[in-house]
């Protein structure tokens, strides 16, 4: 970009800055429309601006407006384009749009385009019950011409609102019903989808490594020889006392001692009474 062009843009920006305090619409005189139609852009695409744009003689090359405040939900949109823009971001009518590039708007799945009669959605306040925040004032160094993508995504506010107002229903957790078969092989047929092709037999899911006939039926009693499980550790360990002539310290009373207050002779008889099964 040449220095002359940069200088021209700087002067243009300075003039825009000078007119920020003036009413919302400013005509920036420039080349006649017939002489240079391509760089001519329209700003604030509503009927009033268009009318003022047309009455300007010569037509301006650039029309800059201040950001219009968001319309109330009750007020109907001024145009279908405004309607669509308000539905997307709720920030008011279009602020900058090049005439050479038509607006392409497609409703997404999350944001279906409602009818024009429906009121436009506005972003919900994040903090409910608080004082509404004042409208953002553009900073001095901030250009008035802003890309539309800088506006906040209204879907974020929609999600916040939906999550805050979602009714909370109590969830009751209940234990799963007991299986009638405590062990063995469980065979279930997998889900089958009809694809129109005759396939082979569906595979089965085997849970457990026992054959089906090994699984006991409910209420079935195993033989006594199979019911007992081998011990892996001593159930009670008796420790000898200290080797001292002094009085032994008080021993800690353990659960095993409470459950087995037997004498040495009783324990010995129990062990001697064991016989092979």
């Amino acid at each position: 970009m040449s220095s002359a062009r940069i200088q021209k843009l700087k002067s243009l920006l300075a003039r825009v800055e000078q007119r920020r305090a003036q009413p919302r619409l400013h005509a920036v005189p420039g080349a006649p429309l017939a002489a240079a139609p391509a760089p001519t852009i329209a700003v604030a695409d509503d009927f009033d601006d268009d009318e003022l744009f047309a009455k300007t003689d010569p037509p301006p090359a650039l029309l800059v407006t201040e950001r219009k405040p968001a319309k109330s939900p009750a007020s109907p949109p001024a145009s279908p384009l405004e309607d669509a823009m308000a539905l997307l971001d709720g920030s008011g009518p279009l602020t900058v749009q090049s005439l050479a590039e038509p607006i392409a708007m497609r409703p997404t799945a999350e944001q279906p385009l409602p009818r024009a009669s429906e009121p436009p959605r506005t972003p919900a306040p994040v903090g409910r019950g608080l004082e509404p925040a004042p409208a953002p004032v553009p900073r001095a160094a901030e250009p008035l011409v802003r890309p539309r993508m800088s506006a906040p995504d209204p879907s974020m506010f929609d999600r916040a609102e939906s999550s805050s107002t979602m009714p909370v229903a109590p969830v009751e957790f209940r234990p799963a019903p007991a299986s009638p078969r405590s062990s063995g092989s469980v065979r279930e047929q997998t889900l089958r989808f009809d694809t129109g092709v005759d396939a082979a037999a569906q595979p089965q899911v085997d849970i457990g490594n026992l054959p089906p006939e090994a699984a006991p039926e409910p209420g079935e009693q195993r033989p006594a020889s199979q019911r007992a499980l081998p011990l892996t550790a001593a159930s009670h360990v008796v420790e000898p006392g200290p080797l001292s002539s002094a009085v032994a310290p008080a021993r800690a009373v353990s659960v095993a001692r409470i459950e087995a207050p037997r004498s040495f002779g009783e324990l010995l008889e129990l062990s001697l009474a064991l016989r092979p099964r």
Binding site: V237, P240, S244, L267, L268
Partner: protein
């Protein structure tokens, strides 16, 4: 609870060394010999090979008698802790290791840690402990080596249990294979 149950084993003055006569006596008057474990081991191994462990079993009975005298009451009516304290103390004074008692269900098992190695199958130690418990229980008791422990059983089933142990059946499974005899 009697005083003997609350007091531990007193090792004091257990030995009386009579150097003039060259004799060592216990405090109960029994004459004992202080021998090297390397000497006792081959003797016990030879006795085990010949199937006659009467001598080592008699030694166990003497140790049991000493423990019963130290306990100063009928060992069958005493608590297991009190009996174990006096038996373990007596065995420790003679150099046979530290004894502990375990219950595996209804079965009793002994563990003699730090005992000298007498024979590979530890039948010598089993005979010693069998003699000790026979003295304390007032009836014949057999101890069968199972792993690192000795399970206390009736002498009539000692061979069966010893056969299971030689097959590699551990103590838990042996207890499962045993059931309480009908009264």
């Amino acid at each position: 609870m009697t005083a003997s149950e609350t007091s531990g084993f007193d090792p004091g003055d257990y030995y009386a060394f009579d150097l003039a006569r060259g004799a060592v006596h216990t405090r109960h008057g029994d004459r004992v010999l202080v021998l090297s474990a390397d000497v006792i081991g081959p003797l016990v191994s030879t006795a085990a090979r010949h199937g006659d462990l009467t001598a080592i079993r008699s030694l166990g009975k003497r140790i049991g008698d000493d423990a019963a005298r130290s306990l100063n009451q009928d060992a069958r009516r005493a608590s297991p802790e009190a009996v174990l304290s006096h038996v373990s103390g007596t065995l420790a004074l003679l150099g046979w290791g530290v004894l502990s008692l375990e219950r595996w269900g209804n079965a009793l098992a002994l563990n003699l840690s730090g005992a000298p190695s007498l024979d590979p199958d530890r039948l010598g130690l089993a005979a010693l402990l069998g003699g000790v418990l026979s003295s304390l229980g007032g009836r014949d008791v057999a101890c069968v080596p199972v792993g690192v422990r000795f399970v206390i059983v009736h002498p009539s089933i000692a061979e069966t249990v010893w056969g299971w142990a030689k097959e590699g059946v551990d103590l838990g499974q042996i207890v499962v294979r045993l059931s309480q005899e009908a009264a």
